[in-house]
C-alpha cells in the first residue's frame, strides 16, 4: 500500500517535473502538426554535451574511487543486457505475426541503453537528493555493446538455420569498434579519459554542469517530437511490439534492480546506483543502437525496432520506470 501511495506521489510530482513536461510537450506539439523543428546539428551537439559532462564527472570520480567497486556492477550490466536480448529472442519471436529478425533487433534495441533516459534519471535522482556514484553512467557501454553484439549474433544464427545460406562470418570486432566509435559512447569515453587523466573540475563546474539541465530539457522535447512521429511507423507492424515496449522496460528494469540489490548487499553499491542501473536496463536505445542493428541485421524492419523504442519504450522508461524504481528503492532501501 505504501509502495502504491509512494509511487503515485512520485509519479504525480514527476509529471510536473520539467523533464517529463518537455517530453510530453514534444509529443503534443508533433501531434498538433506544428512545424517547430530543432535543427539536427543542435540535437547532436546536445547529445555530445550531455555525455561529455557525464563522462567528465565519471572520470573525475573514478580517479578517486576504488576500481573494485566497479567490477560487480559492470558484470551485472553486461549480464542484464544479454539477458534482455535472450528473453526477447525466446518470447517476442514466437508471438503471432512477428518476423524473427525484427523481434531480435527489437530485443537488441531494448538491451542497449538510451543516453537521454539515463540523463533524465540522473537529474531526477539529484532533485530528490538520492546519492549515486558518479561512475554509474560509465556502465552504459557495458550493457550497450554486449546486447547489440548478442542480438546481431543471434539474428545471424537464426538466419543461417532458416535460410541455409552460406556461412557468413559475423565480424564481432567490427561491431565493437563501430559501437565504440558511435557519437554517444565516444563522447562518454572521451569525457571519462579527460576526467581521469587531467583536472577539468573548473570547466565542468562552470560550463558543462550548469548547462546540463537546460540541454536535457531540449533533448526531451526532441525525443517527444520524434516519439510521436515514429508512432505512425509502429502502427504498420504487429501490436505485439507495442505490448513488448510497455512491458519490457518494467521487466528489464526489475531484473536489473534485483541484481543491483545483490551488489548493494555484497559490494556496497549505493541505492541510487541500483535505481540508475535499473533505469539504464529499462531504457531502449534511440540514437546509437538503431544504426548498429540496421547494419548488423539488415533484413530487420526498422519500423519495428525504432518505432517500439522511440515511440513507446523511451517514454515508458522516462515517465513510468524512473518514478517506479525510485519508489521501490525508497521502500526497499529505506531512503
Amino acid at each position: 500500500m505504501d509502495l502504491i501511495i509512494n509511487f503515485t506521489q512520485t509519479l504525480l510530482s514527476q509529471l510536473q517535473s520539467p523533464t517529463l513536461a518537455f517530453l510530453i510537450g514534444g509529443m503534443a506539439i508533433s501531434a498538433f502538426g506544428s512545424k517547430l523543428e530543432i535543427p539536427d546539428a543542435i540535437y547532436r551537439f546536445i547529445v555530445f554535451m550531455l555525455l561529455m559532462k557525464i563522462g567528465l564527472k565519471a572520470g573525475i570520480e573514478i580517479r578517486q574511487a576504488e576500481l573494485s567497486a566497479l567490477v560487480l556492477p559492470a558484470i551485472i550490466a553486461a549480464t542484464v543486457g544479454c539477458l534482455i536480448v535472450i528473453i526477447g529472442r525466446f518470447t517476442l519471436v514466437y508471438l503471432p505475426n512477428i518476423r524473427a529478425s525484427d523481434a531480435i533487433a527489437t530485443a537488441g534495441v531494448f538491451g542497449a541503453v538510451s543516453a537521454s533516459t539515463m540523463a533524465a534519471a540522473m537529474i531526477v535522482l539529484e532533485e530528490q537528493g538520492i546519492f549515486y556514484e558518479a561512475w554509474v553512467p560509465a556502465l552504459y557501454p557495458f550493457m550497450d555493446i554486449p546486447a547489440l553484439i548478442l542480438a546481431i549474433v543471434l539474428a545471424g544464427i537464426h538466419k543461417q538455420r532458416s535460410e541455409a545460406t552460406h556461412h557468413q562470418k559475423i565480424e564481432v570486432r567490427r561491431i565493437i569498434t563501430d559501437s565504440l566509435k558511435g557519437s554517444a559512447v565516444s563522447a562518454l569515453l572521451l569525457g571519462m579519459a579527460i576526467g581521469l587523466l587531467s583536472t577539468p573540475d573548473r570547466v565542468v563546474a562552470s560550463f558543462y554542469e550548469p548547462l546540463f539541465r537546460g540541454l536535457l530539457s531540449v533533448l526531451m522535447l526532441i525525443m517527444g517530437m520524434e516519439a510521436y512521429t515514429r508512432l505512425a511507423e509502429l502502427r504498420k507492424v504487429a501490436q505485439w511490439y507495442a505490448v513488448y515496449a510497455i512491458v519490457g522496460p518494467i521487466l528489464h528494469g526489475s531484473i536489473a534492480f534485483g541484481l543491483g540489490t545483490l551488489a548493494h548487499v555484497y559490494a556496497g553499491f549505493s541505492p541510487g546506483g541500483v535505481i540508475l542501473l535499473a533505469v539504464i536496463a529499462a531504457s531502449s536505445s534511440d540514437i546509437s543502437g538503431p544504426p548498429t542493428l540496421r547494419a548488423g541485421i539488415p533484413s530487420a524492419n526498422p519500423a519495428a525496432f525504432i518505432g517500439s523504442s522511440t515511440s513507446i519504450g523511451t517514454p515508458m522508461a522516462i515517465a513510468v520506470c524512473i518514478p517506479l524504481f525510485i519508489a521501490v528503492a525508497e521502500v526497499v532501501f529505506d531512503i
Binding site: I222, M225, E226, T229, D286, P290, P302, T310
Partner: protein, 108 residues
C-alpha cells in the same frame, strides 16, 4: 570538344555510404560526389522536412562519372547485388558529355 561519358547515380540510405564508395573505387572510378537529401520511398524512412535524430537514416546521392560504359554498368550491378536486397536505394545510369576525359577514366 565534348566527349561521351556515363554517369552512375546512386540514391541510398547514408548507412551504406562507405560500402558504396568502396565498390565505386574498386571498380576503378577516379572520383565521386556525395550529396545529402531526403525523400520518400516504399519504406517512408527518410524525411526531408523533419530533423531525423538518427543521421545514418538520411539519404545520400552519389554521382560517379566514368568514360567507360562497362565500368558504369559494373558499378550499378555490384551495388544493387551487394546492398539493395536489404537496404533502401536506387541506381540509374545516364549519358553525359564532358570536356576533360582524363578526369574521368584512364581509357583512351
Amino acid at each position: 570538344m565534348m566527349h561521351q561519358a556515363s554517369r552512375v547515380t546512386i540514391t541510398a540510405e547514408k548507412l551504406i555510404q562507405d560500402g558504396l564508395t568502396e565498390i565505386i573505387e574498386a571498380e576503378g572510378a577516379l572520383g565521386y560526389s556525395v550529396f545529402e537529401g531526403g525523400g520518400k520511398g516504399q519504406h517512408g524512412l527518410h524525411g526531408l522536412l523533419r530533423s531525423p535524430i538518427v543521421d545514418e537514416f538520411a539519404i545520400i546521392k552519389i554521382e560517379v562519372v566514368v568514360t567507360d560504359r562497362a565500368v558504369a554498368e559494373a558499378i550499378a550491378e555490384k551495388v544493387t547485388k551487394a546492398f539493395f536486397a536489404d537496404h533502401s536505394g536506387i541506381v540509374y545510369i545516364d549519358n553525359v558529355e564532358i570536356l576533360r576525359p582524363t578526369k574521368f577514366g584512364n581509357s583512351p
